[in-house]
C-alpha cells in the first residue's frame, strides 16, 4: 500500500512533517527532530515489560489510594476525613454534578481506563498474542493520553495542604503516600508507552 521506499521504518515529525528513517536506531537511543527539536521516539527492546511492570504497580497503588483516608482535618474537637472517591462525591452533593463528573474523569476514570488498557496491550504485545482487540485498546489509549491529570492533581493536593495546615490539624493518611508513588508510576507508564513503537509492533503481529 505504502510506497516501497517509505515503509514502517519511516516516521514524519508530528510538529513539522520532516521524514526520518529510523531503521538504524539502537536500543536505548532517543530520536529528536533536527528541525524543530520534537522528541520523536525512544527505541527500547524492553518497552512492553516496562509498561507491564509500571501499569500493574500503578493499578495496585490506585486501588490503595482510593480505599483509605487521604487527608483528615481536625478542629475544635470535630474531625472530617476525606478519601479520593468521596472528594468527587462531595462536589456532587454540593449540587455541582458537572464539576464532579469532570474531576472524576480527569483523576479517576481516565487514569484507570488508561492503566487497565495499557496493561492489556503491553501484555498482549509482550507475549506476541494475535488478537483483534489490542488495536482498539491502543486507539483509546492514545486518544485519552492527554486528558489524564494525575500529576496536576497531586500538585493541587500539596497546595491545599499548605493552604489549610495553619488553620487546624491536618493528618496525612496512607492513601496520600500511595497516591504520591502512584503519580510517579503512572507518569512512567504513560511516558514509556511510545506511540511509534507500540503501533509498529501492533502491525507486525498482524502479518
Amino acid at each position: 500500500m505504502c510506497s516501497p521506499k517509505y515503509n514502517d521504518d519511516w516516521l514524519a515529525c508530528p510538529s513539522c512533517d520532516q521524514l526520518y528513517d529510523l531503521s538504524e536506531m539502537q536500543h536505548g537511543e532517543k530520536a529528536y527532530c533536527s528541525h524543530c527539536n520534537a522528541a520523536l521516539t525512544t527505541s527500547r527492546t524492553d518497552i512492553f515489560s516496562r509498561v507491564q511492570a509500571f501499569s500493574l504497580s500503578s493499578i495496585i497503588l490506585m486501588i490503595m489510594s482510593c480505599s483509605f483516608p487521604f487527608l483528615a482535618f481536625k478542629a475544635s474537637g470535630l474531625e472530617s476525613v476525606m478519601t479520593l472517591p468521596q472528594a468527587v462525591q462531595r462536589l456532587h452533593d454540593e449540587g455541582m454534578t458537572d464539576l464532579a463528573l469532570l474531576v472524576g474523569c480527569f483523576i479517576l476514570l481516565i487514569p484507570a481506563v488508561l492503566l487497565v488498557l495499557s496493561f492489556a496491550v503491553s501484555l498482549s504485545l509482550g507475549c506476541g498474542w494475535r488478537n483483534h482487540w489490542a488495536k482498539d485498546c491502543a486507539k483509546i489509549i492514545f486518544h485519552l493520553k492527554t486528558w489524564s491529570m494525575v500529576e496536576v492533581f497531586f500538585i493541587g493536593v500539596l497546595v491545599s495542604y499548605v493552604k489549610i495546615v495553619h488553620m487546624a490539624t491536618v493528618v496525612i493518611g496512607i492513601s496520600f503516600w500511595a497516591y504520591a508513588i502512584f503519580t510517579i508510576t503512572f507518569t512512567m507508564t504513560i511516558s514509556n508507552l511510545d506511540r511509534y513503537q507500540t503501533w509498529k509492533r501492533l502491525e507486525e503481529l498482524e502479518r
Binding site: C16, D17, Q18, L19, N37, F73, R90, F106, V152, W199
Partner: protein, 204 residues
C-alpha cells in the same frame, strides 16, 4: 539536513498512530482513523475555540470559585481574591503557584494561541522553529491551570465541620474547568506544520 516533508512526497501521517500513507487515502490503513495531510480547518476551528475560552474567562473571574462558611458568616472568594488573600496571609509561594497556574497560564496560553493564529493567517512565517517550539510549550502547560479547580475539590471535601467551618464550591470552578478544556481542544486542533509549509512556499 535539508527539509524533506512527508507532504512533499505525497504522504500523510496518521495523527493517532503515525503511520505514513499516500495522501489520497482517507482512512489510516493501520488504525482506521481518518487521515489528513494537514489538520482540516485548523485556523477557524482554533479561533472559534479560543473565542469560547475568552467568553468563559469572564464568569470564571467575576463569580466566586470558593465559599467559606465560618460560624454563620459566609466569605466568597474569586480566583484573584484568593491570590490576594494568600498574599495577605504571607503564604507567598502558594500565592505564586496559584497566580501562575490560574491567571498567567490561561491568559498566556490564550494570547499565545491568538498570536500563532495571526502569524499563520499572515502566511509569512519567518521562524517556523521558534513558532513550533512556542506552540509545543503552550500545549504542554495547558492542563496545569486545573490546579485551582483541584484545590477547591480537595478543600470542599476536607473542610466540612458542620456549623463551624464549611467550604463550598462556587460556580466559577465549573467555568474555569471548561475554560481549561476548551483551550486544550483549541491547542489540539492547531497544526504547526502549516508554518513549515509557508516557509517552503517562500523559499520556492
Amino acid at each position: 539536513m535539508s527539509r524533506q516533508s512527508a507532504a512533499s512526497k505525497d504522504l500523510s501521517s496518521c495523527h493517532l498512530c503515525l503511520k505514513l500513507a499516500p495522501s489520497d487515502v482517507h482512512h489510516c490503513p493501520r488504525c482506521g482513523s481518518s487521515m489528513h495531510v494537514r489538520k482540516p480547518n485548523t485556523l477557524p476551528r482554533t479561533l472559534a475555540l479560543l473565542s469560547t475560552a475568552c467568553v468563559l474567562y469572564i464568569p470564571a473571574n467575576i463569580y466566586p470559585i470558593m465559599i467559606t462558611d465560618q460560624l454563620g458568616s459566609s466569605l466568597e472568594s474569586t480566583i484573584l481574591g484568593g491570590v490576594v488573600l494568600l498574599v495577605q496571609m504571607d503564604s507567598l509561594p502558594i500565592a505564586a503557584i496559584i497566580f501562575i497556574a490560574s491567571v498567567m497560564v490561561p491568559l498566556g496560553k490564550i494570547s499565545m494561541m491568538f498570536y500563532l493564529c495571526w502569524t499563520m493567517h499572515k502566511g509569512r512565517a519567518a521562524t517556523p522553529k521558534q513558532l513550533t517550539v512556542a506552540y509545543r510549550i503552550t500545549e504542554l502547560i495547558g492542563k496545569w491551570s486545573m490546579i485551582d479547580v483541584f484545590v477547591v475539590t480537595i478543600l470542599v471535601a476536607l473542610v466540612n465541620l458542620g456549623q463551624i467551618l464549611v467550604i463550598r464550591p462556587g460556580i466559577a470552578a465549573v467555568s474555569f474547568a471548561l475554560l481549561v478544556i476548551v483551550t486544550m481542544i483549541a491547542a489540539e486542533s492547531f497544526d504547526p506544520r502549516v508554518f513549515w509549509d509557508q516557509q517552503e512556499e517562500q523559499d520556492d
